[in-house]
Assembly symmetry: D3
Homo-oligomer: 249 residues x 6
């Protein structure tokens, strides 16, 4: 069930049977010579979309612009500063918690978001903690590649050249969902190098085509299909477990 | 051409032939008994999607959460505070201007966004103005219902009961695009009342089912089709005119 | 009755008979070759000053610096950024609401303020809306040229060359109030041109003497007297209607 | 010369002969049983107004709302938080420095403003200091009661019962300028007590009628006249000395 | 008793017998040719450390980076902007007040901190004042050189050349506490000059070796010992008086 | 070499031979029944203090208050909100980078700081990235328990009951450095439980004595000595490698 394709009355009814909501969150940023700029927000959106076909879970609109300052050296990247990102996450959570959502699950598609999402959670919890009161909601961050079974499948599919940016897994997921937008390019070197992540010009100097440690040529629609199917099942499990989790008094 | 379905290299090539980009922007908020919560961000997204089939224009990801504090009394509404909204618009613009985009066009789907978007523009321009330097970019806000011919068609389609929130035009646009998600309800009164817009509980007390002055029962897929077709053409014209506009020295 | 010429005890007494206050708000910015820099905050101050002679209404000190970033290319302009402006409006409102004022009326003298004032209102209401509680106050923005009858008189006085900045109406109002400070200059062209409003250097390039669409040479003390008299009456009506407005439960 | 009664061209001409500007700054807050709420911003405005008759100095509009959080327990007080106050001072200074003003002189009328004004200066200077560049402007804070000779006259006029809030000197200054708004009341005790300054309810509990250490009954129009005359002369001297001060390379 | 060398249970027990805590606060900044960069935070830390041997008072960790923007022209200075400094003080106070501390005493070692600390206090009190509620805590700023008897001793020890930055008193205090880190240098001139404090490059142009009005060559370990002993006694008195102070209803 | 025990001239000389600085950073928070509140900032301070005896490395003052909102339910904890923490880290870095430090190394002692420190780094880098310029500095976060060999030693010393908060390793380090402040208590259960980290009251409900998964009774001075010695060596290596790292053009 998608929140944005529902009426307010339908959400009111949903809240009578569940207090849990899933927010796909990612980033819009360069993904190497062939990866789509939307990869990191489309992957969790795709997986969440499949998951809601399997179970009665509610999917919020996608939080599509994340913390990608290091990719700003490549055309098309759009980034929030961490402070802006945190403020926006705060307003999303306050909006939803005010309706009665008590378990807010962020399905994340971008490694570069993790620190800022966790900082945003702490900023939100701190409002309650400074006031020595209960928050009234629990927040959970889960990267889609950490869902049950996904990492094992990825290792099997891509024993080498997986890397950490513009990876063949994320490329495969978008190939399955957007087969009309599959791009091709020569990769040189075949497997990209690694390095520390700092400001955008430093990143581009280290990673001229945008990849980090990956060989996206290995991606395929079929591998994407397998990944999405497994991740959607894993998401349903995670969300149900989170929803069922008891909060101590 | 969708930015998120392109690679960074494709955007680099686009920048050689155009410095203009379109950002669909809206809100995720209650739209009465039958309107979808995503109506206000889906309408500009739908129209921009059609427009990019007609001409070589570039569409950014949709800015889907806007300033809807007055609708927070209805489940499912998600709102940014104006200050958060302005900070986020600022980061989007800085990201894009840094790539060389000089004309940034916001196609808006929510009346409640207008003041905050304009304030955001002023905040951005002020950075240049305080420093007595040029901004390097021009920003434009255009509501989809102000595109050439749209208002005339809306008056013809809905001589009465158009209203200003949960209007039959916006409902019709989403019906055309999402025919599987058409909802129905009894409206009482048939045409909703009006009132000032203040905080959320005040709004809900004045507008118990969420509508303002509208009779959405008049919407239809066919009317939506006509509106989208006209708006898409109007958008192409507006974007081209904006892109062609000369900036004085 | 002017708040700043009253004691705290007198304001305490006023609150027993009314919960409404008027804040003149404007901007300090260039107004063409002959307009005073203070025009936009002096006009509402002048009108409010006359209105409080006609009825028992309370006038706050004038909020004299507004959002005028686009005029910073001309000496003497002082501007707040929208975010600063909004923070200041917020503190004014919180101060007054804490005393028991429930209807806070901003009489505005600068078109460039409108978006930021409305955004400030939403920011204030959002505090209540996120917490799902009542705000406890209602805010109203009214431009002095929108007061009953003023626009009709202005059209009659200045059928051509009214324009939107350094207009003959606002010049006339200040001529009536400050006859010792009437300036003169040659205008070329007689009626100034128009254009989009962006950053300050862009504005100055488009509007070399600062006017937008106006011919201020038509202003006169007598026309100013008529405008002020009419506006003062209109203000009394608006303020009383706002004060009398019932708030739904 | 008042900035707000000048045109932008006149300010441009002034900048050719001087780079110094005076900003009257104060507060709008309770001043005991008989003091006007505007006392603290009207005093520097009055003195600056007289000073500009004596010499070619430029007076900006009055910054009329200051940091008066501790007086919010009394009706009519309007306060900015320190952070808002600092942001606003910052925008005033940036606006003026951008026009070429190099010496910006704040004539202050409220002791409670001092710390926040100095913090605002440091915040502004810090922008330059972090960047290891020159600021391009010098800022000066001067309380009107610290102008040459004023303190000696005040001690002579009011050997006892001067106090620090709702003082007979500030009451006298406003009596001279606004003789139609002189109020009277019984004071009990004749000389008010003292105490630490904390939050508003604490302040009101300690100072039930708002005074701190003062006996305002001693004020008179004639004493006000003497104070204003002396202060205006002192201001001219201070402003000229500040304007003449050389900045080391 | 040092908070950081205690367990949470021990602090819980302390709160049963006292609601007062002392925070040493200073700055890390250049102190002339021979002064240690940590002088301004080490002095209050040293004095507080001695004081807690004399009485049952609780010392918080040292707030070691203050507002020293004007010293950034000299290597090793670390400064917060006033706004950052104020935010941090705010979080310290909110943390401690939430545990039940009602009297929070800042023992300050840097004159440049004073305005920003006072502004921070007002910012904190304002939260309560805007809401018209009690703060629940009282804040006190005390510079170590203002403790009982310290100024008299300093005048006796250093009749000339005390100055206001890199003073012989503060050098002496650190010499006593860190005898292994006593530095020496030629001073030229022997007593440094004075001037206004503005941005960092201005400061360095006026004060090439960093001193203001001081002759630190007069410092000695023995003089430091005397100063610390006296200040520690004075601190115990001040803290006890503050702790005993009654808050009016 | 400690920055705070040096003069500005000595730091100027250091900058001629190195552009690297180490900042110990931690938190002041409850550490179970026997752990000192300062544990998390004292551990990196202790290790850095030992390391600077082994090599010519420069140690900044300790950043002693971190992000510990979840511990605010226990007396003595002092926490910054993530946004405050990030602002403060920003000012530290800007201060140091302005002096010419190009490699800024944060030796961290608190797991709860990690996300906020990384977000702070991104916020700083983003300033450069939005402007498409080089940052001019590189930032590195290193937890002391991740220094070469430390984890292996910890596993050997504490095969069970290490846990993640109030761990025997950190207790041992402070026991070695502060042998006069060793506390004892009965632990029940011997090894504490685990759970998610949310707001402070939730944390205290889950972890009544403050520990997470640890058995601190296993700590000893000797184990602390071994850990510090190894960590100090590891720190020297890490800092030298970081200082030697080449930055691509």
């Amino acid at each position: 069930m998608f929140l944005h394709l529902s009426t307010w009355a339908e959400i009111g009814q949903f809240l009578e049977r569940s207090r849990t909501i899933v927010i796909p969150i990612g980033s819009n940023e360069q993904h190497g010579p062939t990866g789509l700029l939307g990869t990191d927000w489309m992957c969790p959106e795709i997986i969440a979309g499949e998951a809601q076909k399997l179970a009665d879970i509610l999917i919020a609109p996608t939080f599509n612009i994340g913390m990608a300052q290091h990719h700003l050296g490549f055309p098309g990247t759009i980034s929030l500063r961490p402070s802006t990102f945190m403020a926006a996450i705060g307003d999303w959570v306050r909006s939803l918690a005010g309706h009665g959502f008590e378990k807010i699950f962020f399905l994340n598609g971008h490694g570069g978001n993790i620190a800022s999402i966790e900082a945003a959670f702490s900023e939100l919890y701190a409002e309650a903690s400074f006031a020595r009161r209960r928050a009234g909601f629990a927040l959970k961050l889960c990267n889609w590649w950490d869902l049950e079974g996904v990492d094992a499948l990825a290792r099997e599919q891509f024993p080498t050249g997986h890397g950490i940016h513009a990876t063949p897994t994320e490329i495969a997921v978008t190939q399955w969902a957007y087969p009309d937008f599959i791009k091709s390019a020569e990769y040189s070197p075949r497997i990209a190098n690694w390095g520390p992540i700092r400001e955008a010009l430093d990143f581009r100097a280290r990673h001229p085509d945008g990849r980090m440690g990956s060989d996206p040529a290995q991606a395929s629609i079929e591998k994407g299909r397998q990944l999405v199917a497994l991740a959607a099942q894993g998401l349903v499990q995670e969300v149900q477990a989170f929803g069922d989790e008891a909060i101590p008094g």
